[in-house]
């Protein structure tokens, strides 16, 4: 190889002149390009420009968000790995760890919903099994535009089928999620995919390379021109076959991913791996740089050795390709034979594509020429970081209960709420997901949290995804707190000890101070809640610039939390179990109707402050509920969130087929107590003989607790105002989504 001193700039493979336009097309600001010139002491080659654009874009560098992400609490005695690796990891005892993360695939899912969502699932699964964890659960948080928008149906259909198509084939149970609709997501949907895996706590794998002169090994699928940066198309140098070379949509191959998983598991078990990194965004570039930079080593790549799906790929294309189902590894030299056997068994492409060096350079060779020669640490460390200007968001003032009229017909109001797009049954969605494979699902979709057995002794984990964007929009700080609090509540409601969260921060254009203000305040709210609740952030993802025609999405900091149950048998579900059980309201009656579902769906108003979140109360009430479940006092719990007490009790009835009568409501118009969305509240059902015990325990801890009715019959009776058969409720609840989707092929 004709390698010269660094002063000698590498030969530019396709001799493309670096013009200001080209720089701009690569999403680099003039001052960012200045920084590159300064760092290199010369002009970058075209390939190098591509590498910088990939490493320094918002997605990889977190340049707008880093400053604020640093403020999040990330530590606890049980945290094995916080943010900074492919996924976070927590210790759950018995030498077991749960590795988990969430990631967005918003834009690709809008362009091609099936493949966009499918490859989103594929990417997050790889992040998890890269660390040595076998995926045991997947979840997803989806936001679509208004149901009336012409594209919504098509997007719902494609995204759900894509998630199902990938996850089902791969063999991971998809066990929970969220599906909401709002006009602010017209033209910019959100697809946030979560995965959790189970690893041996003392055998977690990282991307940090170790050892000089070791081979860098490529495994998985071949590299094609998938998802290459849009700038390639814009540069005219490609001649007549531009059409052919158009950046293509990434297509997922879940079968290959499953083989990749099994091969990796065998490599881990046979102690073959020194370092491993999946190729996600900016594929080969970011995985190689990450491995080297973390290990304080240089990396040399020879692109001729990269398995290629298409002919005539340039260095630029290979470095930026986002082909799926690929990994980069550093193997123990003495295990090379064994590793080759394993990869051959799983029929995966593999190739030695480079080596580690001690010079801290990232060198890329193609056809005998040096096409990139960059300082490896600076590529990551020197990435721009911005303290973007932000303004304090305008917070909606509280809405006085007396300014919210009672509904003319309460029965009708409740039916409307439980059948509205956001609260209706999502069965149409989750029945397309295989939520049972692996035979460990103790709680299937439809409850407060999914519960998965992880150990023969009965130990289980719980998972829940949450955020209420309308709250965040009205008050980013309180809304940020609420997302975490609701997740904490959902885990507590099944009896799980909340352990840690991952987040996916979806916002608009951070270059607009009011959007940046939303972001900053929401992250502060998130952080505050995590700190108080002892619920650290161990991984996450940021998705900015979610806008269409200058209008941002609702600020959507999605939270996905993991909790632990010592024994799945001590788990609560939302379904009523026995007639005659006493219904209790824990946390007091509601008073706040601002931003409530009642206000929006029944009165057509989206206004007011969201219910404030008292984190100390959340913590206390959560612990109380978990204690009751653990002690076997109750097996029937539901938290109160969207739609308030009425919707919570209705959901408990619908899940069981049993009815309930609630006859103790506070004085005044019942619509406030029934529909308010005040936080830190739960409904539980207990045997009558337990009532005194629960009342005393609550009094001791100064927790509002009151019997409000009982489980009986097959009708739901709430105060004097609501009387509906459970069958009728169920019919309304189940109807909307299948009927809506009917019109889609």
């Amino acid at each position: 190889m004709s390698e010269n001193a660094a002063s000698n700039a590498p030969v530019n493979e396709i001799d493309i002149e670096i013009t200001p336009e080209l720089v701009a097309e690569h999403g680099l600001k003039p001052e960012e390009y200045e920084k590159i010139l300064e760092l290199l002491g010369r002009e970058p080659t075209f390939t190098e420009l591509g590498i910088f654009s990939a490493m320094w874009n918002e997605h990889c560098s977190y340049k707008s968000s880093k400053k604020w992400l640093r403020t999040l609490p990330t530590e606890a005695p049980w945290v094995i790995q916080g943010p900074g690796e492919n996924a976070g990891a927590i210790d759950i005892g018995d030498n077991q760890a749960i590795v988990f993360k969430m990631e967005s695939h918003n834009h690709p899912s809008y362009i091609e919903p099936y493949q966009g969502a499918a490859t989103g699932v594929g990417g997050i699964l790889r992040d998890v099994f890269t660390m040595g964890a076998r995926p045991i659960a997947a979840a997803n948080s989806l936001r679509f535009g208004s149901p009336e928008h012409w594209k919504t149906r098509h997007l719902v259909s494609g995204v759900v089928a894509g998630i199902a198509g990938y996850g089902n084939c791969f063999g991971v149970p998809t066990v929970c999620g969220e599906v909401n609709f709002h006009a602010r997501y017209d033209g910019n949907i959100l697809v946030n995919a979560f995965a959790a895996g189970l690893a041996q706590a003392d055998r977690i794998f990282y991307s940090k390379a170790k050892g000089v002169g070791l081979p860098v090994v490529y495994i998985g699928a071949k590299t094609g021109r998938d998802g290459i940066h849009g700038a390639t198309m814009a540069s005219a140098e490609f001649g007549e076959d531009v059409e052919e070379k158009r950046p293509t949509v990434q297509v997922g191959d879940p079968f290959t991913e499953k083989c990749l998983l099994e091969a990796c598991m065998e490599l881990f078990e046979n102690d073959c791996v020194i370092a491993i990194q999946d190729m996600g965004a900016a594929g080969l570039t970011s995985s190689a740089v990450e491995m080297g930079a973390k290990g304080n080593l240089g990396i040399e790549l020879n692109l001729d050795a990269v398995p290629q799906r298409e002919e005539g790929m340039t260095a630029y294309e290979m470095m930026l390709s986002e082909s799926q189902e690929r990994m980069l590894l550093i193997l123990k030299p003495e295990k090379r034979k064994l590793a080759e056997q394993i990869l051959r068994k799983w029929e995966l492409d593999f190739s030695i594509v480079g080596k580690t060096t001690d010079n801290l350079r990232f060198k890329v060779f193609h056809k005998g020429r040096l096409v990139a020669d960059l300082p490896i640490k600076e590529l990551g460390d020197q990435a721009p970081e911005y303290d973007r200007p932000w303004v304090e968001p305008k917070v909606q003032p509280p809405l006085k209960p007396e300014d919210v009229p009672a509904p003319a017909d309460y029965n009708d109001a409740l039916l409307r709420m439980i059948s509205c797009p956001d609260l209706c049954s999502k069965r149409w969605v989750y029945e397309q997901y295989d939520y049972l494979v692996q035979a460990n699902t103790a709680q299937i979709p439809g409850g407060d949290a999914a519960v998965m057995r992880v150990h023969e002794n009965g130990k289980a984990i719980a998972i829940s995804c949450d955020v209420t964007p309308r709250y965040v929009e009205a008050d980013p700080f309180e809304g940020g707190k609420q997302a975490v609090a609701e997740c904490y509540r959902n885990l507590s409601a099944v009896g799980a000890e909340p352990k840690a969260i991952t987040d996916n921060l979806n916002f608009g254009n951070p270059e607009r101070p009011e959007i940046m203000g939303q972001f900053v305040r929401a992250v502060q709210g998130l952080g505050e809640a995590c700190r108080v609740l002892d619920f650290p952030v161990v991984s996450g993802n940021v998705s900015l610039y979610n806008e269409t025609n200058g209008r941002a999405i609702l600020p959507t900091p999605t939270v996905a939390g993991v909790g632990v149950l010592p024994d799945w048998r001590q788990m609560a579900t939302i379904a009523f179990k026995r007639e005659g059980d006493i219904l209790m309201l824990i946390g007091g009656h509601g008073t706040q109707l601002g931003q409530s579902i009642f206000l929006r769906e029944v009165l057509g108003r989206e206004e007011g402050a969201p219910p404030p979140v008292d984190l100390a109360r959340e913590k206390k009430h959560g612990a109380f509920i978990r204690r009751l479940i653990r002690d076997g006092v109750t097996d029937t719990v539901h938290d109160i969130s969207d739609g308030g007490l009425a919707v919570a009790v209705a959901e408990m009835a619908m899940a069981s087929g049993l009815g309930a009568s609630v006859d103790t409501l506070p004085p005044g118009s019942p619509h406030v107590a029934l529909f308010a969305e005040d936080q830190a509240r739960y409904v539980i059902a207990i045997a009558p003989e337990r009532l005194e015990q629960v009342m005393m325990a609550a009094a001791e801890k100064d927790i509002p607790a009151a019997p409000i009715g009982r489980v009986e019959g097959d009708r739901l009776k709430l105060g004097e105002v609501i009387d509906l058969s459970v069958a009728e409720l169920k019919e309304a609840h189940e109807r909307w989504l299948p009927e809506y989707m009917e019109a889609e092929l």
Binding site: C169, G171, F255, K258, E262, E347, V437, Q438
Partner: protein
């Protein structure tokens, strides 16, 4: 009982199946890999579990049905060894012509995961002898291509000879299968295929163990 679970790349319900066999028999089954050319010696039960062998590409089960191990499975079946295929296993058995008919795309065109009610139609098979004809079991399904099809003549024979082993009970057919067929057997009665997943309904965690008797039937039958 000596059982073997046959694995192909892309199979993903082997753990569920192995666990169910273990719960029922107290013994770990052998495992065979698609490139193997022979089954372990002395095996008296071959089980092909669910999943997406080869991604279900081309047709569900098509590629797996042509792999080396299937020649051994076919030979064993001809000798009378008992063979059970569940979900993708059923698809593979039809593609290998060990069972008649074919499994087409669900009538609703979507993957469907839900618990259906499964009616036992023939209670004198190696998989159902612990149950009674007409028994109804809750049992999950999870598939995209479970729409059973056979031509008129084949159907007549299947029905006439009592070779429909399971049917989806009234109103629970999830995929459009002809005659609500959920599982069938071969003429000799030693090969059974079914779409639902009884292995996912064998313990309290699954919401009930109503399908455990099926596996206990095997143990009894095969151990004898």
């Amino acid at each position: 009982m000596q059982s073997v679970v046959v694995l192909f790349p892309g199979i993903n319900r082997e753990h569920d199946m192995i666990r169910a066999l273990e719960i029922a028999s107290g013994r770990k089954p052998h495992v065979a890999w698609h490139t193997d050319t022979a089954l372990p010696k002395g095996v008296d039960l071959v089980v092909i579990p669910g999943g997406f062998s080869y991604g279900d590409y081309l047709r569900a089960g098509a590629i797996a049905a042509r792999s080396p191990i299937m020649r051994a499975v076919i030979a064993a079946a001809e000798k009378g060894v008992k063979v059970l295929g569940v979900c993708n296993g059923f698809q593979i058995l039809t593609e290998a012509h060990l069972l008649p008919g074919a499994l087409m795309r669900n009538a609703g065109l979507k993957f469907v995961c839900r618990t259906v009610r499964l009616r036992v139609e023939n209670d004198s098979t190696f998989f159902t002898n612990r149950l009674k004809k007409g028994d109804i079991l809750p049992c999950p399904v999870a598939h995209h291509d479970g729409n059973y099809y056979a031509d008129e003549e084949t159907l007549k024979r299947l029905e006439g000879e009592g070779r429909v082993v399971f049917r989806y009970a009234e109103g629970t057919n999830p995929n459009g299968s002809v005659n609500d067929i959920a599982g069938v057997m071969n003429e000799r009665g030693n090969v059974i295929g079914m779409m639902p997943h009884p292995e996912d309904r064998v313990e309290a965690l699954h919401g009930g163990d109503e399908c455990l008797p099926l596996f206990l039937s095997i143990v009894e039958e095969v151990a004898a």
